[in-house]
């Protein structure tokens, strides 16, 4: 029997009837059309499905939508400002933190969760935080570089305006190349 579930996703409230066995990631993708959250492994390993649930990163393929009733959910769509890119997105672009891009939404949501708790992480702390996110393309070096760059950008208050995004991207590529 369907259960009444209320979710506030990226600031917008949705009330819906959901079959208990449906996963949070299904509701996000199939019911709400938020396909930025990816399903990679579907076995709780890869982190492609990472969203921020009540302020903590979780694997949305391993949470029932009914368990999230009454919660707030942040997805990659909510991170992106109306204009331009979020500094983490921008840094992934600039530092070549992606190739196929499949893992990227999960990487970025995990990074957002990390930077919310620890605005100035060491490379070791970044790698530790990414333990539950798999990338099969990049070899991780540029992902770590992107998160480091984004942390610096956010701390020094540089915004995500297109002009700053360009210069930030240039600096990040140079750092990654060196």
């Amino acid at each position: 029997m369907a259960e009444r579930v209320s979710l506030t996703v990226n600031g917008k409230r949705h009330d819906m009837d959901v079959e208990p066995r449906r996963l949070l990631v299904q509701v996000l993708r199939e019911d709400l059309g938020l396909t930025g959250t990816h399903v990679g492994c579907d076995t709780s390993q890869c982190g492609a499905c990472t969203v921020v649930l009540d302020g903590s990163a979780v694997k949305s393929c391993t949470v029932l939508a009914v368990q999230a009733d009454g919660s707030t959910v942040g997805t990659i769509e909510g991170l992106t400002p109306a204009d331009g890119l979020h500094p983490i997105q921008d840094a992934f672009w600039g530092a070549h933190g992606l190739q196929c891009g499949f893992c990227t939404p999960g990487m970025i949501m995990t990074a957002a969760d990390l930077l919310a708790r620890n605005p100035d992480p060491t490379d070791g702390e970044i790698r530790h935080a990414l333990n539950g996110n798999y990338c099969r393309c990049t070899g991780y070096q540029n992902i770590v570089a992107a998160i480091r760059t984004a942390a610096d950008e956010i701390r020094t208050g540089a915004g995500a305006t297109p002009a700053e995004a360009e210069s930030g991207a240039g600096a990040a590529s140079a750092a990654a190349a060196g």
């Binding site: 029997m1 208990p20 066995r21 076995t43 990472t50 391993t62 969760d113 539950g132």
Partner: protein
Amino acid sequence: MIPAAFEYDRATSVEEALGLLRTHGADAKLIAGGQSLLPLMKLRLARPDRLIDIGRIEALKGIRRLDDGRLAVGSLTTYADLIASPEIKYGLFRDALPTIADVQVRNRGTIGGAIAHADPASDMPALLLALDAELVCRSAHRGQRTIAATEFFEGPFTTVLDPDELLIEIRLPAPSQHHGSAYRMLEQPASGFAIAGVAAVIGQTEAATGDTFDDIRIAVTGVGDHPYRAAAVEAALVGTPVDAPSIAAAVGAVCEGVEVMGDIHADREYRAAMAVVMAQRALEGARARLT
């Protein structure tokens, strides 16, 4: 992958959860963080008719200090809560917690779920065995009982909990005067679970003489079909200074009396050898942390 259909109830209090368990018993499964149960249900290795969601029961969350100095950890306390808590001072927790699963799983996985699930290679059971933890459980039909961690685990994914019983809290004794603890494990790189994991606590009670130790507790996970205390190693170390020669002389018995598991990741011989190495390292780590 989607779990098979099930009925869903959300309990908002311990009493409500116990009532639902009494009514539905073996047909129902509790769900806490869901980090073990949901993967099994998606693979249809578990197909409960009903889930009783205890994830919102506030009374089961958090850590408090009892009057006698013990810590009471609510069964719904997550790994992330444990890492963040200033009350969790034992060195073995500091060793183990950051290596269990990943950030996302630690944000949802609970201590109660980890031990009720009783995966023979999971880390938390070894920590609780080495600390001589007590598990407070309750059911509608038998009321409340306290089970020693050493009596709790019976076999792979099997504990002494009744089907209608709820794990309420985990009690950790206050450390003895002069003590140190550590956890060392050889991790299976893909899953992160222990091929062999050893938790060691060494300490002195009032009765200890000189610089010898009389409170030695060593627990092993990943090796047998359920976590166990390595009694032979403990006995060999009592009354010694737990220095390199006494550790070397004792750890060979870490698998004594245990049927060692073999699988594609580690055959019996290798696993047993690694258990010895992990026991040695855990004891050295505990010694290095003496307060």
